[in-house]
Symmetry: C2
Subunit: 288 residues, 2 copies
């Protein structure tokens, strides 16, 4: 028996002439990241299973990018083309999905886009936020979502180091598997910002796109600057070396949040972190 | 072979002539409550295991009370008499325990009390806080710690209903297993207060002591008042009926936090909720 491909199955049921774009929030603690893996649950596998159940035929999701195991999201962008039938209005999909999805995965919004829209290829930028809990005393409730740093953390030094990273650079020093994937290591970082909320320090990376593990690599090196083990100027040297071995250890996944994906040019300028990512008193972009 | 009792084992190692009082915070999500159970992990079983490992002999904990499966704590009070040897200073116990305990159980503080001190019998009062997330949109990050209530929640009506409950009353209507346990159903509630933080409404119960499931039963009925299904005056009728069947369903465990246990008279008057229980920007009573 020949395995059915995505295209074959979708042809059987027929495709709608539009695409849905969803914004999804998730606590990534118990998942092996976004992309389907053979050895455990992923956000993609759970969402595709529930969507396929809802539509009665296999649904495939295009995501704006992958997230590592343990990384969280407030606004992961995902698109899919529904079958021609059944026609289900976006608000119904959202309500039905939020009632059958596990509590740690929530659909914030669903919009209709044209047929050619693709969450991955049409993205114009992304915002990632790292949460540092700058304390010696771990918190029983927030530990899943932070990188706990006991040492004094110098935000001014981090901002100075960040200034060398903003702009268009070869980020070979801050990515893994560059040689293997043969990806173009040149990327555009629009801005790096810091916000403090009590003992928590948030570092937000706004960029056009990021290489594999680039945000975690950047954060690993900025952390060394923050705890004053490395001078800010050293970051320029590391960047210019284009050598991963010159940078410091990758930061842990669990402090990282994919905050938002931008689909129009310059939209990133309006991004503002008002609260801690895991603590939005007003539900984030959930409008139904 | 005869099973060793707590007393026999403690006699073997000798006992110190003082007691330690610990304040413990925990996320109760993955636990079967405080008290040791045959079928899964409890906070008590995990803490006794780690303390016994630390001291090299079996340690038994006295707690200020039990908590149901899924209930959380910011300041559970627990006492134990250490063996005479090894002598371990309180700050060392705290640091060592916090390094070997799971991240969702944290020791806030350890104090030395006299030999006769018992966390349960010496308690003069307790503060419990219920967190209601008053929204139709669940939050992927805070869902473990709230009771999500989609309907409009009338805080003024709850406060009016609460006024009938404050004071010394027979709370038979708001407890389970009263007949089985033959406990005195008369209890003293010092105060019931509300605090709002964005979409979250906190209801704090301050009392001398509470019957089994009493806080959850009270909250179940106050919830009916809050969503305007029941008039506040009805709560007085329910109280006076002394009949559990007249009250409404017990509220879910996961929105409930044991906030603090008081060991001096009137100390409850100084209790003030400054932030949401699961979101203390400044670590709660963690001073090392």
């Amino acid at each position: 028996m020949i395995e059915e491909t995505a295209t074959q199955i979708q042809n059987q049921v027929g495709r709608a002439n539009f695409t849905y774009l969803m914004s999804v929030a998730f606590d990534g603690t118990g998942y092996l990241g976004w992309q389907i893996q053979p050895h455990g649950p992923t956000i993609q596998s759970v969402m595709e299973e529930k969507l396929s159940y809802l539509f009665g035929s296999k649904i495939f999701l295009n995501s704006s990018g992958r997230t590592d195991a343990g990384v969280h999201a407030l606004g992961m962008a995902v698109s899919f083309t529904p079958p021609a039938k059944p026609q289900i209005p976006p608000e119904t999909i959202k309500r039905a999905m939020n009632s059958i999805l596990p509590a740690e995965i929530r659909i914030n919004s669903i919009e209709i886009r044209d047929q050619e829209f693709n969450a991955r290829f049409d993205a114009k930028g992304k915002a990632y936020t790292y949460v540092i809990h700058n304390t010696r005393k771990a918190n029983a409730f927030t530990h899943r979502w932070v990188w706990q740093v006991a040492d004094k953390f110098n935000v001014e030094a981090v901002l100075q180091a960040a200034s060398y990273l903003i702009g268009i650079h070869d980020f070979s020093s801050f990515a893994v598997e560059i040689n293997k994937t043969k990806k173009n290591p040149i990327r555009h970082i629009f801005d790096i910002r810091t916000d403090s909320f009590g003992e928590y320090i948030c570092i937000t990376f706004l960029g056009e796109s990021f290489l594999y593990k680039m945000v975690r690599s950047l954060m690993g090196t900025l952390h060394r600057v923050g705890i004053e083990k490395v001078q800010p100027q050293k970051v320029l040297e590391i960047l210019e070396s284009r050598n991963r071995l010159c940078a410091y250890d990758t930061a842990p996944a669990k402090g990282l949040f994919l905050m938002e994906v931008f689909y129009s040019y310059g939209e990133w300028k309006e991004f503002k972190l008002k609260e801690l990512p895991f603590f939005v008193q007003k539900s984030y972009r959930q409008d139904c």
